[in-house]
Amino acid sequence: MKNIIKILKFEYLSCVKNKAFIIVTFFLMGVMLLSAFLPALVMGLLSEDEEDGENKEKPVIAISSEVYDQALIKSEFESSFSESDIKISKESTDDLTKKVDSGDYEFAVKINDELKFTYITANNSLFSENYETISDVVKSMYTVKALDKYGISQAETDKIMNTKVTFETVTTGTDQSKNYLPVYILMCVLFMATMTYGQLVAQSVVSEKNSRAMELLITCAKPTHLMFGKVIGSGLAGLTQLAVLLLTALVSFGTFSSGMIPDEISKYIQLPASTVLLALLFFLLGYFMFSFILGALASFASKSEDLNTLTSPVMIVLSAVYMIMVFMCTGDMVDSTFMTVLSYFPISAPMAMFVRATMTDIAVWEIALSAVVQIITIYLLGMLAAAIYKIGVLMYGNPPKFGEIIKMLKMQRKANQK
């Protein structure tokens, strides 16, 4: 145990002091700060524009209509286009077109009939919502005019039409709508982190083998200690990086973007502590499982170049699990039997059980059972990885075939029993 701690400390410090690791951490911190700061920056620039605009004249919108009452037009359009001056005009379509073209009018609307209008604009932007707004205004004017015939005044009509319905939701299980976004993001982080930090372990093994430090190492410490120390050390380094990034995210978004996110969106970004803890638990389980596999495979590589060939099948499996999870989430199938099976199958369990635990209403024992299955798998994988690590140490040249590995493991077992 003492040795594991020494090894993990060494591995941890090696990772944390590694230049590439530090650069990546700072880069990601920079990206986070920037993305948090950007909305504030953009809004700041926009508001400056607006301040400048106060001195200028408001843009003019010309409305020409013979169907509706002028007062009605003015009040309805003003309430919908409060940033502009509404001008009631009697000009012909051609004149309006000319003035829009010369920039006198922001745009012009010629209401030809009770439910028909021509929208004259210089630039028809893809994102412009003027069309719909004008339609709504015209529709509203039509309603007012129609109801007027039955003796209902405009004020009464407005009151009826602008009534708002309020509601509350009571969710008895887990509210998928609220969890969806954070779970989705965390799942992505889980996937990326497992892959990245697993590679860290593989790299560490290969570099020791490449520098031939391994022979001395395995005569100084037990392969199991080396393997577990390496995996735990790199894992802790990964957690440190994640913690730093999470903290940066919390502080920067808290400082720059507070109040900038509209309520409609922020209600979907609720991150309960339980979700974070579950993410942490399943990250650790997934990380251990994959890094033992990657560490074992890496002991067969003689150079870093061999590493990709050896580890790509694992990466494909991991990516496939992630894709299935995305598919399950977007296809609203997190409650399916398939998903339940995946949440107990060791390789897919870390991600699948995380999704199930956060998006659906499941019993604690299910989470615990899945975790136990994973822990047993991790232990067995760890032992296997250490055995493979030992036989792989002095193997240089082409990576061995699967059958040869099994044969060597059997021989080692036999020798151990002697």
Partner: protein, 305 residues
């Protein structure tokens, strides 16, 4: 303390690389493991270190199965290698810790050995910035860091210049004098001859010859006599003339002042000396010529593998 290797056998697939290897190394003594490339030296050493498992035989420490955690073993592998991108002191301390030293002990020991190796100025450098010979010295420091009672050195002299080889020789002698048992393999016979009392010559996975060097040498016929004299030119014809029937040959070695005489019977040695003295020759040295380790090595390993 006694390390006994008993009847080791090892196969790699179909190939039998070690067959019935046995030898003993003791405290305060050095054992030289000799053999041509591929004779099985490194495999034997790796089995002692537990890197490989033997197929048969055993490694004993004072009669009991060797438990590598109970005894400090200093091991210099044939494949040298530490962490190239790590600071020298940092990695020496790490290996010290793994060997069971406390942090303080590891620090002190690293400092001590860097000084002893004349490498103190490099202590904060990365290993990869050093020359190959200097890296080798760091590797030696890592080997001896834990004050080992058993020292196993696989080709320790390869890659060292004469000055550094001398330094290493002194260090190994100190370790032997302080009571450590040393096993080392080398191709450099002069070093082996200098501080090994015992040798084992491996040939094609088997022991060709083993035991105390002096005894091995004595086992050779002692019928070759070397006579050192400034009168070598006159001595050679005198011997042929006066005792020709007792000798096989008498030759002067080129331009040197040495006459080599091969006797038919080794016991005639004293008679030869007396007749030379009686004749009044001025003799600097008269001795039995023993075979060099090199001669023995070549004799046993030629045509092997």
């Amino acid at each position: 303390m006694k390390i006994e290797v008993k009847n080791l056998t090892k196969r790699f697939g179909e190939k039998e690389v070690l067959r019935d290897i046995s030898f003993t190394a003791e405290s305060g003594k050095a054992l030289g493991l000799l053999g041509r490339n591929g004779a099985g030296k490194t495999t034997t050493i790796r089995i002692i270190m537990g890197v490989f498992y033997q197929d048969g035989g055993e490694v004993l420490l004072d009669g009991k199965q060797l438990n590598r955690e109970q005894i400090q073993i200093g091991y210099l592998p044939e494949e040298r290698g530490l962490y190239p991108k790590k600071q020298i002191t940092e990695q020496l301390i790490y290996f010290g810790l793994l060997k069971g030293l406390s942090k303080q002990q590891a620090k002190e020991s690293a400092k001590k050995w860097l000084e002893r190796m004349g490498m103190s100025e490099y202590k904060d450098k990365k290993l990869e910035t050093l020359s190959k010979g200097n890296q080798q010295k760091i590797q030696l420091a890592a080997t001896l860091l834990c004050d080992p009672k058993l020292i196993i050195l696989d080709e320790p002299f390869s890659g060292l210049d004469p000055v550094n080889a001398m330094l290493l020789k002194d260090v190994i002698k100190e370790m032997i004098d302080s009571g450590s048992a040393v096993i080392f393999s080398s191709h450099q016979m002069n070093y082996i001859e200098e501080f090994c009392e015992d040798i084992v010559i491996l040939n094609a996975g088997q022991i060709a010859v083993g035991g105390n060097i002096s005894e091995i040498k004595r086992s050779y016929p002692r019928n070759t006599i070397e006579i050192f004299s400034t009168q070598a030119d006159q001595i050679t014809p005198f011997i042929i003339r006066s005792v020709g029937s007792e000798i096989e040959s008498a030759e002067k070695d080129g331009k040197s002042d040495i006459v080599t005489v091969k006797l038919k019977n080794p016991e005639y040695k004293n008679n030869l000396m007396q007749s030379l003295l009686k004749e009044g020759f001025d003799i600097d040295c008269f001795k039995v010529k023993e075979p060099s380790l090199n001669d023995i090595f070549v004799q046993y390993t030629e045509g092997g593998i």
